[in-house]
Amino acid sequence: MAYNVLIVDDSQTMRKVIRKTVSISGFEIGDCWEAGNGREALDILHSCWVDLILADLNMPVMNGLEMLRELKKGELHRHIPVILITTEGSEKRLEEAYALGIKGYIQKPFYPETIRDVLTRIMEETRD
Protein backbone atom coordinates (compact mmCIF):
# COMPACT_ATOMS: atom_id res chain seq x y z
CA MET A 1 0.00 0.00 0.00
CA ALA A 2 1.36 3.43 -0.96
CA TYR A 3 0.98 6.43 1.35
CA ASN A 4 0.78 10.12 0.50
CA VAL A 5 3.51 11.89 2.44
CA LEU A 6 4.15 15.53 3.39
CA ILE A 7 7.77 16.38 4.29
CA VAL A 8 8.24 19.56 6.35
CA ASP A 9 11.78 20.86 6.76
CA ASP A 10 13.33 24.29 6.15
CA SER A 11 16.24 22.71 4.29
CA GLN A 12 15.35 21.92 0.69
CA THR A 13 18.32 19.56 0.53
CA MET A 14 17.19 17.69 3.64
CA ARG A 15 13.66 17.35 2.23
CA LYS A 16 15.10 15.74 -0.91
CA VAL A 17 17.31 13.44 1.17
CA ILE A 18 14.40 12.38 3.39
CA ARG A 19 12.26 11.71 0.31
CA LYS A 20 15.00 9.64 -1.29
CA THR A 21 15.79 7.79 1.95
CA VAL A 22 12.13 6.91 2.47
CA SER A 23 11.94 5.62 -1.12
CA ILE A 24 15.05 3.45 -0.89
CA SER A 25 14.01 2.14 2.53
CA GLY A 26 11.24 0.18 0.83
CA PHE A 27 8.37 2.22 2.29
CA GLU A 28 5.92 2.86 -0.55
CA ILE A 29 5.21 6.53 -1.31
CA GLY A 30 2.24 7.65 -3.37
CA ASP A 31 2.15 11.43 -3.80
CA CYS A 32 4.77 13.44 -1.93
CA TRP A 33 4.63 17.14 -1.06
CA GLU A 34 7.29 19.34 0.51
CA ALA A 35 6.93 22.36 2.80
CA GLY A 36 9.63 24.70 4.14
CA ASN A 37 7.87 25.39 7.47
CA GLY A 38 4.72 24.63 9.45
CA ARG A 39 2.69 27.41 7.79
CA GLU A 40 3.38 26.07 4.29
CA ALA A 41 2.50 22.56 5.52
CA LEU A 42 -0.89 23.72 6.82
CA ASP A 43 -1.58 25.40 3.47
CA ILE A 44 -0.82 22.17 1.60
CA LEU A 45 -3.12 20.20 3.92
CA HIS A 46 -6.06 22.40 2.82
CA SER A 47 -5.83 21.13 -0.72
CA CYS A 48 -4.15 17.69 -0.62
CA TRP A 49 -4.94 14.32 0.91
CA VAL A 50 -2.02 13.41 3.16
CA ASP A 51 -1.61 10.07 5.01
CA LEU A 52 1.58 10.88 6.88
CA ILE A 53 3.57 13.97 7.90
CA LEU A 54 7.35 13.88 8.45
CA ALA A 55 8.37 17.11 10.18
CA ASP A 56 11.38 18.89 11.59
CA LEU A 57 11.06 20.98 14.77
CA ASN A 58 13.50 23.86 14.33
CA MET A 59 12.12 25.92 11.40
CA PRO A 60 11.54 29.61 10.72
CA VAL A 61 8.06 31.19 10.34
CA MET A 62 6.23 28.32 12.07
CA ASN A 63 8.18 25.63 13.89
CA GLY A 64 7.18 21.99 14.33
CA LEU A 65 5.55 22.39 17.75
CA GLU A 66 3.49 25.37 16.57
CA MET A 67 2.38 23.34 13.56
CA LEU A 68 1.35 20.45 15.85
CA ARG A 69 -0.72 22.84 17.98
CA GLU A 70 -2.51 24.13 14.87
CA LEU A 71 -3.14 20.58 13.60
CA LYS A 72 -4.62 19.59 16.95
CA LYS A 73 -7.13 22.48 16.80
CA GLY A 74 -8.81 21.28 13.61
CA GLU A 75 -11.02 18.18 13.25
CA LEU A 76 -10.00 17.57 9.66
CA HIS A 77 -6.26 16.99 10.06
CA ARG A 78 -5.75 15.97 13.67
CA HIS A 79 -5.89 12.25 12.78
CA ILE A 80 -2.92 12.44 10.35
CA PRO A 81 0.08 10.70 11.96
CA VAL A 82 3.07 12.99 12.44
CA ILE A 83 6.62 11.69 12.83
CA LEU A 84 9.39 14.06 13.84
CA ILE A 85 12.70 13.84 12.01
CA THR A 86 14.91 16.22 13.94
CA THR A 87 18.19 16.75 15.74
CA GLU A 88 16.24 17.49 18.93
CA GLY A 89 16.81 15.01 21.71
CA SER A 90 15.76 16.78 24.89
CA GLU A 91 13.27 14.78 26.96
CA LYS A 92 11.08 17.77 27.81
CA ARG A 93 10.67 18.86 24.22
CA LEU A 94 9.88 15.32 23.07
CA GLU A 95 7.33 14.93 25.89
CA GLU A 96 5.73 18.16 24.68
CA ALA A 97 5.67 16.86 21.11
CA TYR A 98 4.14 13.51 22.17
CA ALA A 99 1.53 15.41 24.21
CA LEU A 100 0.67 17.31 21.02
CA GLY A 101 0.07 14.01 19.25
CA ILE A 102 3.20 12.91 17.40
CA LYS A 103 3.31 9.16 16.74
CA GLY A 104 7.05 8.74 16.54
CA TYR A 105 10.46 10.34 16.46
CA ILE A 106 13.61 9.78 14.39
CA GLN A 107 16.79 11.59 15.35
CA LYS A 108 19.12 12.95 12.67
CA PRO A 109 21.54 11.52 11.62
CA PHE A 110 19.54 8.45 10.63
CA TYR A 111 19.91 5.20 8.70
CA PRO A 112 17.34 4.27 5.99
CA GLU A 113 16.45 1.12 7.97
CA THR A 114 15.42 3.24 10.97
CA ILE A 115 13.09 5.29 8.78
CA ARG A 116 11.55 2.18 7.22
CA ASP A 117 11.01 0.46 10.60
CA VAL A 118 9.45 3.50 12.30
CA LEU A 119 7.24 4.41 9.33
CA THR A 120 6.04 0.84 8.78
CA ARG A 121 5.26 0.32 12.48
CA ILE A 122 3.34 3.56 12.76
CA MET A 123 1.31 3.10 9.60
CA GLU A 124 0.39 -0.44 10.68
CA GLU A 125 -0.71 0.85 14.08
CA THR A 126 -2.70 3.63 12.43
CA ARG A 127 -4.43 1.15 10.09
CA ASP A 128 -5.40 -1.07 13.05
Binding site: D10, S11, Q12, T13, M14, K16, V17, K20, N58, M59, P60, T86, T87, E88, G89, S90, E91, K92, R93, Q107, K108, P109, F110, Y111
Partner: protein
Amino acid sequence: MIDEIEKKAIAVIAQVFETMFFTPVAVQQGEGEDLYSPIKSFSAFLRGEIGFEGKHCGTLILSVPVELAKTMTSNFMGLEEESASDSQAVDVVNELCNMICGNLFSQLDKKTVWNLTIPQTREVSGQAMDACNGDQAMSVRFNAEGYPVQLQIQFTSAA
Protein backbone atom coordinates in the same frame (compact mmCIF):
# COMPACT_ATOMS: atom_id res chain seq x y z
CA MET B 1 33.43 20.87 31.47
CA ILE B 2 35.07 22.06 28.22
CA ASP B 3 36.97 18.74 28.09
CA GLU B 4 33.73 16.79 28.35
CA ILE B 5 32.12 18.88 25.60
CA GLU B 6 35.19 18.41 23.40
CA LYS B 7 35.15 14.59 23.80
CA LYS B 8 31.45 14.46 23.05
CA ALA B 9 31.89 16.82 20.07
CA ILE B 10 34.48 14.48 18.52
CA ALA B 11 32.11 11.50 18.86
CA VAL B 12 29.18 13.46 17.42
CA ILE B 13 31.21 14.78 14.46
CA ALA B 14 32.24 11.22 13.55
CA GLN B 15 28.66 9.99 13.91
CA VAL B 16 27.17 12.75 11.73
CA PHE B 17 29.85 12.70 9.01
CA GLU B 18 29.89 8.91 8.74
CA THR B 19 26.15 8.18 9.03
CA MET B 20 24.73 10.84 6.74
CA PHE B 21 27.63 11.79 4.51
CA PHE B 22 29.56 8.50 4.25
CA THR B 23 32.68 10.54 5.09
CA PRO B 24 35.11 9.16 7.69
CA VAL B 25 36.97 11.73 9.79
CA ALA B 26 40.33 11.77 11.59
CA VAL B 27 40.69 14.18 14.47
CA GLN B 28 43.84 16.32 14.93
CA GLN B 29 44.55 16.90 18.60
CA GLY B 30 47.26 19.37 19.55
CA GLU B 31 50.50 18.31 17.85
CA GLY B 32 52.11 21.74 18.01
CA GLU B 33 49.49 23.58 15.99
CA ASP B 34 47.32 26.30 17.47
CA LEU B 35 43.88 24.75 17.17
CA TYR B 36 42.16 28.04 17.98
CA SER B 37 43.63 29.90 15.05
CA PRO B 38 41.88 29.93 11.67
CA ILE B 39 42.88 27.38 9.02
CA LYS B 40 44.73 29.25 6.28
CA SER B 41 45.69 26.49 3.89
CA PHE B 42 42.50 26.72 1.83
CA SER B 43 41.34 29.80 0.00
CA ALA B 44 37.60 29.42 0.42
CA PHE B 45 35.51 27.95 3.21
CA LEU B 46 31.85 27.73 3.98
CA ARG B 47 31.44 28.95 7.52
CA GLY B 48 28.24 27.82 9.23
CA GLU B 49 27.07 29.29 12.53
CA ILE B 50 24.32 28.23 14.91
CA GLY B 51 23.47 29.71 18.29
CA PHE B 52 22.49 27.56 21.27
CA GLU B 53 20.83 28.39 24.55
CA GLY B 54 20.22 26.11 27.50
CA LYS B 55 22.49 25.12 30.36
CA HIS B 56 25.26 26.77 28.31
CA CYS B 57 24.86 29.52 25.73
CA GLY B 58 26.99 30.43 22.77
CA THR B 59 27.70 29.85 19.11
CA LEU B 60 28.91 26.76 17.26
CA ILE B 61 30.92 27.49 14.13
CA LEU B 62 31.81 24.93 11.47
CA SER B 63 34.28 25.77 8.71
CA VAL B 64 34.34 23.42 5.72
CA PRO B 65 36.36 23.95 2.50
CA VAL B 66 33.99 24.67 -0.40
CA GLU B 67 35.29 21.69 -2.40
CA LEU B 68 34.65 19.29 0.47
CA ALA B 69 31.19 20.78 1.10
CA LYS B 70 30.32 20.07 -2.55
CA THR B 71 31.65 16.50 -2.39
CA MET B 72 29.70 15.87 0.81
CA THR B 73 26.58 17.38 -0.78
CA SER B 74 26.91 14.97 -3.70
CA ASN B 75 27.32 12.04 -1.26
CA PHE B 76 24.41 13.24 0.84
CA MET B 77 22.04 13.69 -2.08
CA GLY B 78 23.23 10.67 -4.02
CA LEU B 79 24.34 12.79 -6.99
CA GLU B 80 26.77 11.02 -9.29
CA GLU B 81 28.34 12.87 -12.23
CA GLU B 82 26.25 15.96 -11.63
CA SER B 83 27.96 18.40 -9.25
CA ALA B 84 26.23 20.03 -6.31
CA SER B 85 25.23 23.69 -6.60
CA ASP B 86 26.51 26.47 -4.30
CA SER B 87 23.12 26.80 -2.63
CA GLN B 88 22.90 23.04 -2.00
CA ALA B 89 26.37 23.12 -0.41
CA VAL B 90 25.29 26.02 1.84
CA ASP B 91 22.16 24.08 2.78
CA VAL B 92 24.28 21.05 3.70
CA VAL B 93 26.62 23.08 5.92
CA ASN B 94 23.55 24.55 7.66
CA GLU B 95 22.26 21.03 8.21
CA LEU B 96 25.67 19.84 9.48
CA CYS B 97 25.68 22.65 12.06
CA ASN B 98 22.15 21.77 13.10
CA MET B 99 22.88 18.05 13.46
CA ILE B 100 26.19 18.51 15.30
CA CYS B 101 24.83 21.16 17.68
CA GLY B 102 21.52 19.39 18.35
CA ASN B 103 23.12 16.01 18.98
CA LEU B 104 26.03 17.38 20.98
CA PHE B 105 23.99 19.28 23.55
CA SER B 106 21.13 16.80 23.82
CA GLN B 107 23.65 14.00 24.39
CA LEU B 108 25.41 16.10 27.03
CA ASP B 109 22.17 16.78 28.88
CA LYS B 110 18.83 15.32 27.81
CA LYS B 111 16.94 17.03 30.66
CA THR B 112 17.74 20.54 29.46
CA VAL B 113 15.69 22.11 26.69
CA TRP B 114 18.24 23.45 24.20
CA ASN B 115 17.02 26.22 21.93
CA LEU B 116 18.92 26.42 18.65
CA THR B 117 18.82 29.33 16.23
CA ILE B 118 18.31 28.82 12.49
CA PRO B 119 21.82 28.12 11.09
CA GLN B 120 23.44 30.64 8.74
CA THR B 121 26.28 29.85 6.32
CA ARG B 122 28.46 32.19 4.26
CA GLU B 123 31.60 31.84 2.19
CA VAL B 124 34.81 33.22 3.72
CA SER B 125 38.49 33.17 2.86
CA GLY B 126 40.94 31.40 5.21
CA GLN B 127 42.39 34.76 6.23
CA ALA B 128 38.97 36.23 7.00
CA MET B 129 38.05 33.53 9.48
CA ASP B 130 37.84 34.73 13.07
CA ALA B 131 39.89 33.07 15.77
CA CYS B 132 38.05 32.06 18.94
CA ASN B 133 38.76 33.40 22.38
CA GLY B 134 40.60 30.45 23.99
CA ASP B 135 39.34 31.10 27.56
CA GLN B 136 35.71 30.46 26.75
CA ALA B 137 36.03 28.43 23.62
CA MET B 138 36.89 25.03 22.30
CA SER B 139 38.16 24.02 18.91
CA VAL B 140 38.40 20.66 17.19
CA ARG B 141 40.22 20.30 13.91
CA PHE B 142 39.85 17.20 11.80
CA ASN B 143 40.43 15.82 8.33
CA ALA B 144 37.68 14.57 6.07
CA GLU B 145 38.61 13.15 2.67
CA GLY B 146 41.97 14.94 2.95
CA TYR B 147 40.47 18.38 3.68
CA PRO B 148 40.85 20.28 6.96
CA VAL B 149 37.61 21.02 8.83
CA GLN B 150 37.28 23.07 11.99
CA LEU B 151 34.60 23.07 14.66
CA GLN B 152 34.69 25.94 17.14
CA ILE B 153 32.37 26.63 20.03
CA GLN B 154 32.42 30.08 21.59
CA PHE B 155 30.58 30.18 24.92
CA THR B 156 28.90 33.36 26.10
CA SER B 157 28.16 31.86 29.53
CA ALA B 158 30.55 29.76 31.61
CA ALA B 159 30.85 26.10 30.64
